[in-house]
Symmetry: C3
Subunit: 139 residues, 3 copies
């Protein structure tokens, strides 16, 4: 069995931002030498997500509105978590909805993807350094 462990670092300009990380994950898979296996890609912070969807600006705006309606950032005082001095309870909830991680198949040395699948880092509490873990296992 082969394996590879890698960290991707992010520091977004916006509080909520979606970053396409497909090329970086594909590159890690290539360097791992794994031909058949799985790659796990997960946020290492609990106010961020990794997910797969379309790289389309309008859709990302729809995601933003959807999540903001579901778990609005304001009023900050509306969340008990924020009584601790934090202001990111909404970000923890948004991450629960969009999920922590994705697992992607590796076939013949490549990400085994459908036509429009792209991997995103979903940041819900940005403007500071945060990490994503890429873990490849297989043969």
């Amino acid at each position: 069995m082969k394996s590879l462990t890698e960290h991707l670092w992010f520091e977004t300009k916006e509080r909520l931002e979606f970053v396409n990380i497909t090329a970086q994950v594909a590159d890690a898979v290539r360097r791992s030498g794994v031909r058949e296996g799985l790659v796990l890609v997960n946020a290492m912070h609990i106010s961020a997500s990794v997910f797969i969807n379309d790289d389309e600006r309008g859709l990302h705006e729809d995601f933003r509105r959807f999540l903001e309606k579901l778990a609005p950032h304001e009023p900050v005082s509306g969340y008990r978590h924020n009584d601790t001095g934090e202001d990111n309870a909404d970000a923890h909830i948004k991450r629960q909805v969009f999920g922590r991680e994705t697992v992607v198949a590796i076939t013949a040395g490549k990400l085994d993807f459908g036509p429009w699948e792209q991997i995103f880092y979903g940041e819900f509490d940005g403007k500071r350094r945060k990490r994503v873990l890429v873990k490849v296992i297989g043969e």
Copy 2:
């Protein structure tokens, strides 16, 4: 390490439909010869889900109502993604809520399931040919 890669094809009659694919996944696991390992089952399209829940008609109706209330198909003009000429922004959002994939343990050559677990393909933008990937790895 052994592995097996397989595609399941779907063309649903309804725009939103849930299809039980447990038997097909179990069959792929059997044919893989893997006794201990994992099977990843994921939608290859970004307006569909794979998830595990109960095979009960009333519950599926509850799922449908829940998702439709959360991200209604109409009005189509309510989504920026649909400015591109698409009408399926709601399907992308529904898929985010229900997730892209599931990973199931294989123990003693079988899906290691609780009493009511069934695997479903969740179609949110149907009536056309779409695929699910089944990837088995283990020994």
Copy 3:
């Protein structure tokens, strides 16, 4: 390839409850002897979740309120699944939002976690015995 299969049992006092299971999963990883690999942790029941987030009481109260607003337990008659004699349709929906499972990387024999990541069993229809599956694979 090495593997380990383990079940964790729960019987919560409340209908909705979050239980930190990080230490038990870390212990299973240690006993597996796996240095590089993956661990799958999943609810074996379809009205419960396994997810990763912060161990903070206020946040858990926010999660509870969020899920209860999204899919209220009452009125029980509001769900078609409950026509079967069940009263837990809301629990099936809550589990769909929070997800069934998590997959965590194992690096150098340990859970490869960010600073605040903790694994939780999310019970949405408690007060009875239910199980979580821990499956470790790797080398």
